[in-house]
């Protein structure tokens, strides 16, 4: 064994680093300051002078923060490639959405009134834990996807990177909270969902295609559903879960919409590519073979509180709202006209005729 005495005996003077003061005379932009505002010191408030200017292209795959001077001497490439064009990943709202994400974090352990979970009739409890099984599964992939893209975001476009980092956190919490609900009240985890477009989101190799599927259509549908969580919930705990998760999903959807808007403003020719992606993804979402056998049945059952006919009626009410909000989001992003041109999948268009 190495004893303390032995080590002391062997101890030499530590070698000192070399003093290099060249960084005291850099020509980076100097003299910037920022005053905290009502919400403190937000990203918006430090995005000033050159430090707030977003380069339309970036060649830099290193971690060097925007506006910093380049290092001296040889430097390695950190990743084989980054998405250097701002149109690939940028959103004008990313900084704001990140700030909001940080200030609206919540805890599934302490912010859900778990003590309001009363014993539910067995059929209802089963339907709820089935829904939660499917949701914890969906949320799991929703966290993998931004993680996959992180190394490809240029540090010059850090706002998008920060937003995606906050999404990783949000989706961890969603994966966790639905698992908690499934195991909190006497039920358990039931049938895996499988399919329904998760693989398509994960495998996409174009960021804007991925984001159109994940943020706009996928999370858009989820957000519309969560906002109607009152129709599904049977107690305060469940209501709160849906309300808080919906709040997070709103940010994810907003990022997707504003990213697409930014991209289409700068590269309108990309519209057809996104339409094509949505054609494919809508098709996947409504494909009966891809349908999650647990999710649809459990959702209808919960909506009708065991009355399946009433559940169907409310299901179409939800679906109609999902489709209307989806079309509205596309309009805002500058990709309107899917309904008018007959491009929207017929079974989604059909939902608009319901009640």
């Amino acid at each position: 064994m190495v004893t303390a005495d032995k080590l002391n005996e062997l101890q030499l003077e530590p070698e000192a680093p070399e003093l290099d003061l060249s960084w005291l005379n850099l020509d980076t932009v100097w003299g910037v300051s920022a005053e905290p505002g009502r919400k403190g010191l937000t990203l918006q408030q430090i995005n000033k002078t050159i430090y707030g200017e977003i380069p339309t292209t970036s060649e830099d795959s290193s971690a060097r923060p925007r506006g910093a001077a380049p290092p001296e001497g040889a430097t390695p490439r950190m990743t084989p490639w980054v998405l250097g064009d701002a149109t690939e990943t940028f959103s004008d709202s990313a900084a704001l959405l990140y700030d909001e994400a940080v200030s609206r974090q919540w805890s599934s352990a302490t912010d859900i009134p778990w003590d309001t979970l009363d014993e539910l009739p067995e059929d209802i409890e089963r339907a709820m834990v089935q829904l939660c099984t499917s949701l914890t599964e969906v949320e799991f992939i929703a966290g993998d996807v931004p993680g996959k893209w992180l190394p490809r975001i240029a540090a010059d476009h850090f706002e998008s990177g920060l937003f995606l980092m906050s999404q990783v956190m949000d989706e961890a919490r969603h994966t966790d909270v639905f698992r908690k609900r499934a195991l909190a009240n006497g039920g358990g985890l039931l049938l895996q969902g499988g399919g329904g477009g998760l693989r398509q989101i994960l495998e996409a190799e174009d960021f804007t295609q991925m984001s159109s599927m994940l943020h706009i259509l996928g999370e858009g549908f989820v957000q519309s559903l969560f906002r109607l969580g009152e129709l599904i919930a049977h107690n305060e705990a469940e209501k709160r879960i849906f309300r808080l998760a919906a709040q997070d999903e709103s940010r994810h959807v907003a990022y997707g919409v504003t990213h697409l808007k930014y991209t289409l403003e700068h590269e309108p020719e990309k519209a057809e590519e996104v339409h094509w992606t949505l054609d494919m993804f809508e098709d996947t979402l409504v494909d009966p073979d891809q349908a999650n056998p647990g999710l649809a049945g459990a959702l209808v059952y919960l909506l009708g509180d065991g009355d399946v006919d009433e559940g169907w009626r409310l299901f179409w009410h939800v679906r109609r709202k999902q489709v209307l909000e989806y079309l509205h989001r596309l309009d805002v992003a500058g990709l309107g006209g899917r309904l008018e041109t007959g491009r929207l999948h017929p079974s989604l268009a059909g939902a608009l005729d319901e009640n």
Binding site: R64, A109, L191
Partner: protein, 364 residues
Amino acid sequence: MPDNDVIAAAKERLEQSGLPSTWLDIPVHWGVKAKEQATPENGGLRFQMLNVDVYGEVPEYWDNNTEIPRGAVPDTRTEQMGYSIFNKAEVWSDLCADLYEDAIADRWNSSADIPWDSLEPIGADLERAVCQIATLMSEYGWTKAQTTGRWLQEISYGYIEVKLFLGTVVFDAARMFEVWRKRALANGGGMGRGGRNWKFLPLTQSYTFSEFVVASIMHDSMLLTLLRRGEQLARTDAERRIYQLCEQDLERHLAYFVDHMRYLMLKEPVRREEIHRYMNKAEWYLAKDGDDTLYSALAVIMGDGREGAEEAMADVAELRREQIETYLGYLRQCHLADRQDRLNEELRKWAGMVELEEEEKIPV
């Protein structure tokens, strides 16, 4: 006990409407009620409380390449999702579930939780030095978030606790990136010079998760040593708070990395030499990075300006020695005490350790 009549009636109603009802046939592990443990004194409903019955059985090998939740019944039509880690030893630590909840309980907000109004002019040299350090801290936060994030798509739901915890690491790292950027741009300064980044290659290039973990132990333990000097380095309450909060986050990260590596060394001792290779690499890149900007900026702060920097270098050298000591200390905790004798020659000089001749090597 399941009420068969209620379920049979529910099935019938669903089938009449053409809805799938197979999910009602699944044998439920009825009676798992995590809510019963969830009291304010227990910290609410913490993830670890879910780990009962089959749901708490974390398998040594997880054999499903879909996103199926641990404990659910598979739908065999589901496509594989490309996960690559199915071996518990490769990622596991018993601490993950608690560290995940702790991270959420410790969450902070760089906009509102830092007393930004305590910033005041600190003199040109010191402001330059603080901004230089802030620039390098931002870089590390960015790299940490990117390199941690990329492992998420490799880890299957079997080890969900690990992924949840890594999600908090990504988010903590994001905050580390931006809180230091805010510091650099808030007080009349600006960004400094970027680092050379050679030292980060062992993180970005890692092929196995454990390789990423040992490189993280090296970087994080050195950074933690620096953050712990916050009292001495901070010139304002805002900086003091930033040092404290980043330190608290990094301690959690290291708790996981170290406990995981300890687990791996116990479960798969045969990997010891392989892990040493990764440490050889991480240390080599750190030593050869040769970028003394960080230490020079620290010298300017400790010396209260450029005039005092030369003299302060002795203190900085002592700090760097402590960094290596902290690193080796964490490795001792993961049954890698033998690193002491295999440490990179350059880092031995930083630590003031004698160069050992082959025959003098101390038995550990």
